[in-house]
Amino acid sequence: MSTSPETEQSSRFQTMMAILIALVTLLGAALGTRAALISTAAGDEDFYGLAASLSAEETEALNTLTMYRNYRAYAAYTRYNVLGDLVAKDWEQTSDETQSEALGQAMQTAWAMAVAVNRFFPARYLNRDGRYDPERELGEAWAEAAMKKDLDPQPHFAAANLLRSKVSRLLIIIILLTAAVWFFTLAQGLRHALRYVLAVGGGGLMLVGIAAAVLEELVHRGGG
């Protein structure tokens, strides 16, 4: 059975459109899968960021509580130590024997108490002038904690935001490809010469979509 050249040409065109529709649909499905994976990765980054937030606040709170506990002990130490020093000055100047004895006892008691509370705070945070440096203690404690756990949520949140933007861009590409399918479908059903215009339109959208997808993967790497 033979067919006219026009019918054969039309048939070839329809077949071509069907193949293009299938190809674009497959590409769209692949991009959809990719978008879903990237979306999952964005959720993971959010999770890591929140975990880092929690760690950071926990570390900050615990370090601060420890620092003030130490600082409180230092305050007690200062109370006794400075009192001992002040009594010592008076003791050196007194000539009254009774008073000297009382002052000497008070001085020794104060210094003994200072020594007793001395071990309740880390002496390494004392400056050369004998004053406590709470900022240094907090800074060192933070640095030590940062070596053991993630304390910076911002990179994770930034990554999550970037991945979400990528998902949006992939969806825009999918819309372009869907529009290409729309053109191909109309072109496939038409006998009119307009079908070639529609086919070219669909092809153009398909090419733009493919180019955008390739660019997206090359320029904005990352994701699942």
Partner: protein, 558 residues
């Protein structure tokens, strides 16, 4: 048509429609994904802000805790220096003062602008808290609230888009079905499908174009500053800060609420009512707003509105006894004494149940319960003071001319407040209301100070209602009958309307059935402290039953 299309033109048309709806569905998918992503981002931000706000409060409180400890040390040294002076030991006094100065260096709380070492005043703790963490923590908490609200709004949008996709799926199904049948029914399927698609499209437009409102960052900052000022009782600055927040974001419900609280504290009840109403209109219809609004209506003498609003607060949180008492007192001031009695009785029953339940579970009732019970008694006393034209600086009550049937209200208020005090005390000490009748009769208290001769010997007592500053011992004198040895007697002392729990004293009665007695209230065990100027009220309870009260004044030195 046949020359224009391959195959069945109807099928071709349906295919074109299906493809078009698919494009629309793809666009909605994009919108849904974006909305969902934003919701996720806001939810994440909300959680992050909540964590940070909690962290700031914890570290801020740790700082405050330490600063307060340093102040305590400072005070101890100050007292030691004073005592050394009194014991004529200037060298020791100088040592303590020098040490005190050294301790003051250990916390910023003990330095300007929070503390003046030359003055006798306490450090400005509220300002210190505001500066060190309160403003920051408040801003973070507000950001959390805003992000959570945005999360809800975007989630609602995303869910609406999911519904749109489901509707489009239904229409696509109908279009597909149309190609499998013949006759008019296929046109019906197409028609219904197009109708669903059209309606969905309109709905999509409405959802997409509906803006999502959000409180601006600047408004949050102004709000947080307002909270900081309010914390320091800098009311005008607080009001202005909240106004700035509202200028930035006119629908900021929390700013209306906080400004209303500040206006209330400033005594501008009318404006406070307007702001509470604005807070409700902006979406904050919670128990706190209704509670405060109901109470402010009461103070303005708008009793019907007060009852309705407080009743609404009760509906929002039926367990809140404080607001139930507000309903009761509004009925009382409205002149409906019987209804007020019923409301008070009902609320006391609810309270007794809460205490019984807590005890049954082996725990304690929430401490806030006692606060609300005491406040209810204080409110009744405030009403009595207003009706007797003897308001105190701390009195909160409606204008006298707004109270309906004042004589009947006064008599009822007096009786209810006694009952309430007995009820609260019995509940607090025995876990259940007292059922025993009051047998003791105590005469009204007279107050006196002991007088001594030049050598310090007691020579008599001076009875008065007011005593000079410097008084360190006051005697309450009374006659009694119907008492029984071994009965439990509780004494409470109030200074300027507020109980000072450090004075609470429980003792066993041992003075026999009747006679005269004097009860000393004394700070004379030290040579350093005296009564602070102000009004002191003494209350006496026998076996948890309120039996008598009296008031004396310590006058300030001019």
């Amino acid at each position: 048509m046949e020359t224009m299309f391959h195959g069945d033109p109807f099928e071709r048309l349906v295919v074109a429609i299906i493809t078009s709806v698919t494009v629309l569905a793809a666009i909605i998918t994009l919108l849904q994904t974006n909305a969902s992503a934003r919701a996720g981002q806001m939810g994440r931000d909300a959680q992050s802000y909540a964590i940070q706000a909690m962290g700031r409060r914890v570290t801020g409180q740790a700082n405050m805790d330490y600063a307060w400890h340093a102040y305590q040390l400072y005070e101890e040294l100050d007292v030691q220096a004073l005592l050394a002076d009194r014991f004529d030991d200037p060298a020791a006094a100088a040592r303590y003062r020098a040490l005190r100065t050294r301790i003051a260096e250990l916390s910023p709380l003990l330095a300007p602008p929070y503390f003046d070492t030359q003055s006798n005043t306490s450090p400005n703790v509220e300002r210190y808290e505001a500066d060190t963490y309160l403003i920051e923590a408040t801003a973070l908490a507000e950001r959390y609230a805003v992000a959570a609200a945005l999360n809800n709004a975007w989630t609602a949008k995303a869910n609406a888009y999911v519904t749109h996709l489901a509707l489009l799926a239904v229409s696509l199904f109908l279009f597909g079905l149309a190609t499998t049948v013949a006759g008019w029914i296929r046109w019906l399927f197409v028609g219904v499908g197009l109708l669903i698609t059209g309606l969905t499209f309109v709905w999509i437009l409405v959802i997409t174009l509906s803006p999502i409102r959000s409180v601006s960052g600047q408004a949050i900052q102004s709000f947080a500053q307002g909270v900081g000022y309010a914390h320091q009782r800098a009311l005008e600055q607080a009001r202005d800060a909240f106004t700035r927040a509202l200028q930035e974001t006119p629908f900021y419900a929390n700013a209306y609420y906080e400004r209303a609280n500040v206006l209330y504290d400033m005594g501008d009840y009318e404006s406070a009512v307007q702001d509470y109403l604005a807070a409700q209109a902006a979406g904050r219809d919670d128990v706190n707003v209704a509670w405060n609004l109901g109470w402010t209506y009461y103070l303005l003498g708008r009793f019907d509105e007060s009852i309705a609003t407080s009743q609404h607060a009760v509906e929002l949180d039926p367990a809140q006894v404080g607001v139930r008492f507000n309903v009761a007192i509004a009925w009382l001031a409205k002149g409906d004494v019987e209804r007020a009695r019923t409301e008070y009785a009902k609320t006391m029953e609810v309270t007794a149940q809460q205490v019984a339940q807590a005890v049954e579970k082996g725990g304690k009732p929430p401490a806030s319960l006692w606060t609300y019970m005491d406040a209810a008694a204080r409110d009744l006393e405030g009403l009595l003071e207003r009706l007797r034209n003897a308001p105190r600086p701390w009195t909160e009550a409606p204008p006298r001319d707004k109270v309906v049937n004042p004589q009947a209200v006064e008599a009822a208020a007096e009786e209810i407040v006694r009952r309430l005090k007995s009820f609260t005390t019995a509940l607090e000490y025995s876990g259940k209301p007292s059922t025993a009748a009051v047998t003791a009769s105590i005469s009204p208290f007279e107050f006196a100070i002991p007088t001594y001769d030049e050598e310090g010997n007691l020579i008599g007592r001076t009875i008065a209602t007011a005593f000079p500053q410097g008084t360190d011992k006051v005697l309450a004198l009374f006659d009694y009958s119907g008492m029984r040895d071994g009965q439990e007697v509780l004494w409470k002392l109030y200074h300027d309307g507020w109980e000072d729990p450090s004075w609470r004293l429980i003792e066993q009665w041992s003075l026999g059935e009747s006679g005269s007695a004097e009860k000393p209230f004394s700070l004379s065990y030290t040579n350093l402290y005296q009564f602070t100027p102000g009004e002191f009220k003494i209350e006496m309870y026998v076996d948890n039953q309120f039996v008598q009260q009296g008031t004396f004044i310590i006058e300030p030195t001019e």
